[in-house]
């Protein structure tokens, strides 16, 4: 004969607590590991596209990012930017400078490729096409999503660019804006950060970058 033993209230509470803890632990592990979990996918039909020739799609680890280019604001810089996108030179370019929730930077075509990165020289590479003159606009507001050419001093823009993840009014009139992210800022916010160093070790990179229409 088996004697039925009823569990006490404290045992029931302990059991419930252990089950909850297990669910929370496994859930958290999954959430932490999958950093792209809540990033929305790009739906081109839902976008307002004014000119497909000036829309670039960048594929990063957590999804696709749509960037509208502004040749009317900075014609020379946009022309060069489009050349690099079209020729595939930005593909595999590392996001070597990333400041959390502030900006991501890529486009070193000499020392910044994901599979051939040079940590000692990254950020100093050139495209061999020469430097561009800064095309500054005192009217263009640096809102979150603005894509701009990176530079050391003025008139030294080449291939590197950055995207800001928040409004930075201080950059107005300081950098050449080439476009703005119209979709995918969430995916950019998931890029691996390196706040306390000059560059990110083992950085995320651009999988593919292309214009919607050539």
């Amino acid at each position: 004969m088996i004697k039925k033993i009823k569990s006490s209230l404290s045992e029931k509470i302990l059991f419930t607590f252990l089950i909850s803890l297990a669910v929370f632990t496994f859930g958290s592990f999954y959430l932490i590991k999958n950093k792209c979990l809540f990033v929305k996918e790009l739906d081109l039909d839902g976008l307002k596209i004014s000119d497909p020739k000036n829309l670039a799609i960048m594929d990063v680890e957590c999804g696709k990012v749509a960037i509208e280019l502004y040749p009317q604001v900075s014609p020379k810089s946009v022309e060069r930017f489009k050349y690099f996108v079209n020729s595939g030179l930005y593909n595999n370019s590392a996001f070597y400078r990333v400041i959390e929730n502030t900006l991501v930077q890529a486009g070193d075509l000499e020392f910044g490729y994901h599979d051939n990165i040079n940590y000692f020289k990254i950020g100093s590479g050139t495209s061999k096409l020469g430097k561009l003159k800064s095309e500054l606009s005192n009217d263009y507001e640096f809102k979150a999503g603005t894509v701009a050419m990176a530079r050391g001093e003025f008139d030294t823009e080449d291939s590197e660019f950055f995207i800001i993840l928040k409004d930075i009014p201080l950059y107005q009139g300081e950098y050449t804006p080439v476009g703005k992210v119209i979709f995918g800022l969430d995916a950019l916010k998931k890029i691996k950060v390196g706040n306390k160093t000059d560059y990110v070790l083992r950085p995320d990179y651009i999988k593919e970058f292309q214009l919607l229409e050539n």
């Binding site: 400041i99 502030t102 900006l103 201080l170 306390k196 160093t197 000059d198 560059y199």
Partner: protein, 243 residues
């Protein structure tokens, strides 16, 4: 091998407090104090100590909030004497406020950088001459931007033939910033160090106490010529500029 490379990399990573201001000015640990000024100047302050320069030879300390709030209105009042156009023509946009500013361990009031369009100011440098120091340091920026206009050889010719400036501003013991009773071509002892300091001293007095300079030049022809030279050349930079 991987471990060796990792160790090398770890020691080569320079630790910075990266933010959007660092990206722009390459000075770490800065925060915005005020960016809404009519003449377009952006005021920043050191949230913690920083060291910059190739050999990290320039250092400045965190500004204490109380001190910052006390000094900022004075700095702003003095820079408000310049119109936006004049500041643009002289590459000044960012004022960085901090304390105990040193270059190679020598205390200094300000460090201009015309490429970054910034001027680092020590808000605790020489309380007695603080306001004048602001204009003095800005003049170095004006001169650096327009070095062809402010000819130091020509300037030296205004002085008596027997007078010679020092080799450099820090290798001389002519450091007193107090106004001379009897000027004889120089407003302060520091004016006698090198031509650019002489120009900056006169400029700073003209910006803070023009009447006093006008009184002094009534009986000092050398000083009168120097003032005229400065006025004429500043008009070349901006015709609307007035002391």
């Amino acid at each position: 091998m991987k471990y060796i490379i990792s160790i090398i990399l770890i020691f080569n990573i320079s630790v910075v407090n990266a933010n959007e201001i660092f990206n722009l000015l390459k000075i770490p640990n800065l925060e915005i104090y005020n960016t809404n000024n009519l003449n377009g100047l952006k005021y920043l302050y050191a949230e913690s100590n920083f060291k910059i320069g190739l050999k990290k030879n320039i250092s400045c300390d965190k500004s204490k909030k109380k001190e910052l709030d006390k000094k900022y209105p004075i700095v702003e009042k003095n820079f408000n004497k310049y119109k936006a156009n004049f500041l643009i023509k002289n590459n000044l946009k960012f004022i960085i406020l901090c304390e105990n500013l040193t270059v190679s361990s020598i205390n200094t009031g300000g460090i201009p950088n015309i490429l970054k369009r910034s001027l680092i100011l020590d808000i605790n440098f020489n309380q007695k001459h603080f306001e004048r120091m602001i204009h003095h340091e800005f003049f170095h920026m004006i001169q650096a931007k327009h070095n062809m206009i402010f000819d130091e050889a020509l300037w030296s010719e205004f002085n008596r033939t027997s007078f010679k400036y020092s080799e450099c501003s820090t290798c001389s013991d002519r450091t007193d910033l107090n106004l001379y009773e009897y000027t004889d071509g120089f407003l302060t002892e520091y004016s006698k160090s090198i031509p650019s300091e002489d120009m900056a001293e006169i400029f700073s007095f003209l910006m803070t106490n023009k009447e006093l300079v006008e009184k002094k030049i009534e009986n000092d022809l050398i000083l009168k010529n120097k003032v005229k030279y400065l006025q004429k050349n500043l008009k070349l930079i901006d015709n609307n500029f007035m002391f």
